[in-house]
Each structure stands twice: as C-alpha cells, then as structure tokens.
Amino acid sequence: MAVVAGRAAGGLSRITGRGAGATISGRVMNLLAPDALRELAQGQRVALVSATNGKTTTTRLLSAALEAGEHVVTSNSTGANLTSGIAPTLARAPGPGVAVLEVDERVLPRVVDPLGAELLVFGNLSRDQLDRYGEVHAVGDSWRRVTESHPDLAVVANASDPHVVWAAEPANVTWVTLGLGWRNDAATCPRCAALLQWSDDRFDCPACGFGQLDTPHRLDGDTLVLGSERVALDLALPGRWNLANAALAVTAATTHFGVDARVAAKAVASVRSVAGRYMRVPLGDGREARVLLAKNPAGWTEVLRFLAERDTSVVIAVNAHIADGKDPSWLWDVPYELLQGKRTAAAGERCLDVAVRLRYAEVDHLVEPDALVAARALPGDEVHIVASYTQFSALFRRFGNES
C-alpha cells in the first residue's frame, strides 16, 4: 500500500513537472511505512556507494561494470541519494539482483541495517556545505561506528584518504590506493588528533602510527593495478577524478562480485555522461559547452587541474541555495589563480562573489548571471561550464535529454 501510494505521488510529481519524482514518492513511502526499506530490499544484494565527491559517477560506473558481468542491476541513477530516493529505486527493481545505491554521507549510517547491505564503497571525505553537513571528522566518525558494529561487512575503500581509512578499517576492507588531490581537510590524525605528516601521496601519524597502507590494488596513471593484473582505464569521461571513480568501481565489481576485470574496465570506459555530468549543451552559435559539476574545494581542485591543461574558456556558475550550501566562502579555498590567461565568466545568482574572487586572483572575466549567455559571450572553440549544484540541475533539466 505504501509503495503504491508512493509510486502514485512520484508519477504526479513527474506529470506536474515539479521534479524527477524519486524524492517525493520516497517521502510518501517513508511516511506510510517506515519499514518500507527493509521490505523493498528483500531479494537484493545491496551495495552502497558514498563519498563527498564522485558518488553519483561511481554508482553509475559500478552499475555498468556489474551489468557487463551479467548481473541484474537496480540503481538510483538520478542521484536521489536520501532514504526518500532509495525506496522508490528499490520499488522499481524488476526482480532479484544487485541494488547499487548512491547514499548521502550523512544518511549512510541509518540505512546500512535496514537495507541489509553486503558491500560499502567509500570514496573520499572533505569539506562540503559546512552550513548543513558540519565537520568532516564527524562524518568519518559516524561511518566508523557502522564498521565497528559490522566487522565482517565487506568494504571497498580509498586507501589515500585518512578519513576514509579511519572510517573503513574496522571492517573487512579491500583497499585501493587512488591518490588525493585535496589534503586541507586531513591535517590532523583522525585517530589521535596529532598533526599528520604528508610526503608525496602518503600520510603518516608520527604520534600513533596511523598511516598509509601499502595496498596490492592501486591507480597508476590511467592503469588500475589489481594485484598482479594491470587493467587500462580508457575512459570516455574526463579528468583524473573520474579515473579514481572508475578504479573504485572496477575494484568493487571485480573483488566483490567476481566480474572479470577487463570486462568491468571495458564497461566503465564506454560511459559518456552521468546524470548530466559532462553533458554537452548547444550554445546556439554552432558551438557546444561541456558541463561539469563542482561544488566544493576538493572537487574544484581536480577540475582546475583538468582545465589548466586545455585551451578552453571557462564559465563559473555559482548559486547558494540549500543544495549548493548557503555559504560560498569555499570560493576562497580554490586556487582560481590557475585560470590566469584563460577567458572566463562569473555566472549564477552569486556571480558577484565569483567575480570578486576572480578579480583578486587577477583572472580576466566578464560578469553575467545567466550561465548560457555567459558561455555564448566567451570566445574559443571549447567552453566548459563549471556549475554548483542548482546551476547544474537547471542545465540538466533543460538539456538532459538532448545529450
């Protein structure tokens, strides 16, 4: 009954054009039957994917790898990652199979038991929307309480992120070393609070011995080393961060679900766009812009590295609604100085915040609230629109079906 009512509400939401329908139908289901998650997960092998950055993409890549391994996969591919988004996903499952579910960092501890999860995939943890998420340490601690109470639970985790290592280590962990671009949230040891020592891509705590593990699985350039096997990750998706997402997905598909590593790698390589990330939007003058989502300093650090190597114009489109984080002070954590010499535009409802940041970074820019108008105004064959969450979803709603 709850499931039927929920589906009806989701349908209404889609018909009335107010949303993709996943979240509202889940809210109705949760309201009518708090046990809905437990019932809906019956018959599914549940894998939960969480991280500050890359959870939607990793979920999509893991689903692709498992489908290539002939698993029947159900997944919340639109990125509706609260319990309200998970329930309707499960309700749509065609039958027994694997449910690959993206889960919000704060929601994860609440759903592991109701869903009877058999695998957790941990990517990375860093500052994000501090006005509503709070401290990074607190999120890591909440994950660790889950693994402490489930020491046999399988976890595939990034060995390069101290918060993730701390969160995962009590469980049955398969580590993969992915590297970490942004370290400014990992200055102190999650175990004893002393200062961590960083050298190259390794961290060590001189006080308590907490530190980097040597792992048989690691990302080496664009090759995933899985023990004695080397698998090329020849991705359609751009950027180093997607190599890390892909490495995590292939490691999980291979080590936990027994999918052949080459089959998994081939499947992730063919994914071109993930819920609008990396989609192309027409600018109306014969050119197209590529759209990237970046909403925090760690994400932006990776995106800047990617943009710096290209001859591209860049639109930075920032809003500050609840879903973006109402506090755009993170703009000052990002080294936009790296964009010097590129043609850029400050866009979004908070275009003035962006413009002031770019002025102090001495990056030439124009100011235009509308991201598409801004993209059109910039010269060059290649334009990237890097958008905060609500700016990104507005573009996805408008162009998501065309790309």
Binding site: D131, V136, T188, K326, D327, L331, L352, A355, V356, R359
Partner: protein, 254 residues
C-alpha cells in the same frame, strides 16, 4: 601621508591547515592584493603548525577550524604568545575570525565543560551554546566601517569583558550570541569577528582600515567591483533579515 615603506608588508596566515576552514585564505589574499594594487610590496607568510609563530609579521590572521584542529592550534598559539605580543607591541595587526576569535580570548568552554585556554590578548570568554548560529549576518560598526556583512557558522556564545568594545551591533544574525546584540571585538590594531564569507573580500572598507593601521592612510582603489559586491550582500542580507523578523513576529502572534 607616510613615506613609502621600504620593506614588504608581511601578511601572516597562521596555521592554514588548522585554521582555514571557512575560506580564511581569502582574508590574506585581499590584504596582499590591496597592497600590491597600490604599489606597496607585500609578502604572504604561511605559518605551519610545526613552526613557532614569528614576531616579525605585520598581520596575524587567525581563522576558523574544526574541534581537533582548533585544540591543536590553541596549543601552538599559546606557545607563541610572547612572540605575538612582541609583534603587537611593534605595531602588528590581529584579525581573528570565528575559532580564531575565540582563541584570542581568555578561554573557550566546551559543551562538556572542558576548557580550552586561549592566548588572552583581549578580555573575552566563549561558552559553547545551542543552537548553532548559521547564516548571513549584518552588523553596524562605527565609522568609517559602517554596515558590514558576513556569513556565520558557530556554536559560540562570546561575552566581552567590561570596557571591551564590540566590532558592531547586530542588524540581523547571531553575532556574539550572548544576548548583548553585539558582534565581534575591536581594540587597538585588533579585530575579532564571527563573520567569515570571508570577511575582508566582502568588506573592502574593513580591509583598507586594517591595512591603514600598518601603512598609514591609503589612496582609494579605482575598481568598483568589490564595493558593488559589498553593497549587494549588505542589501540582500538586510532584506532577508527584515523578512525573517516579520515572519517570526507573525508566528509569535499566532
């Protein structure tokens, strides 16, 4: 006007890894650039938590941090207290934001009663309180500062000692949160505040005021963008605050 300085203005960003959670680097960037744009050489000095804080800085910037990093920062700041005081006696300026604001005071008393000792260069005490004060904040400060804006995100309830002057009076937002309606602290060559955003990019007049404490009177800069940004944030923040005030009033009346 003072003769041009021969040495660069040394902007000290203290413990970026520990006290840099809310875009605090922005305050350092703004001070540096507003010097350079006027032809005054400036140098950024990032102080690692492994090092002693030098006494030779012109600016001591203390930002905000999470709990563990803040406790570690407090320890380092206490060890360097004498150097900071000598720097201040030699004319250096302190800007302390959020956690840093709490740590320049006498102590911070956590929710469980545990006390974190600050460096006590200004007479104020902070107690952890509930709820957390999160959102846009607007204050009225004395001339020439005028109306300032920021974003606050803290659980502190800060009480200023007798005779200690607040940076301003809260127009909308939480501020010091102790019921006094005040925000921050201002003293000789010292400003403490809960406003990040960060505070200097949002408030160029405050940035130039702090700079003038080190360089003497400054010529204005040609660019209007920072001032347009300031006026926009102040206007939007004040309007949002007024709407919230009316809503709360209507709700209270039922």
């Amino acid at each position: 006007m003072k003769a041009p300085r021969e040495s660069a203005v040394r902007v000290g960003f203290v413990y970026p890894e520990l006290l840099g959670t809310y875009g605090d680097r922005g305050n350092a960037v703004v001070l540096m650039q507003r010097c350079r744009w006027r032809g005054i050489p400036a140098q950024l000095v990032e102080v690692s938590p492994r090092d002693t804080i030098p006494e030779s800085l012109d600016f001591y910037l203390f930002g905000g941090g999470e709990d563990d990093p803040m406790a570690m920062a407090a320890e380092g700041m206490r060890r360097s207290r004498a150097a900071i005081e000598r720097g201040r006696a030699g004319g250096a300026v302190v800007l302390a934001v959020c956690g840093g604001f709490q740590l320049i005071g006498d102590r911070y008393i956590a929710a469980d009663g545990e006390e974190l000792e600050g460096i006590g260069i200004v007479d104020l005490v902070t107690r952890a309180g509930s709820p957390r004060l999160i959102g846009e904040i607007i204050i009225d400060a004395h001339a020439p500062l005028g109306r300032l804006s920021g974003f606050e995100n803290h659980g502190g309830r800060t009480t200023l000692g007798p005779g200690v002057e607040p940076l301003g009076r809260v127009v909308t937002g939480g501020g010091n949160g102790d019921g006094s309606g005040t925000e921050g602290v201002i003293a000789e060559r010292l400003v403490g505040t809960y406003m990040h955003g960060p505070v200097l990019p949002r408030n160029p007049v405050l940035a130039d005021h702090l700079l003038s404490w080190v360089t003497g009177p400054l010529p204005p800069l040609a660019c209007e963008l920072e001032h347009t940004f300031h006026d926009t944030r102040v206007h939007e923040g004040t309007a949002t605050g007024a709407r919230r005030w009316w809503r709360d009033r209507m709700l209270a009346r039922g």
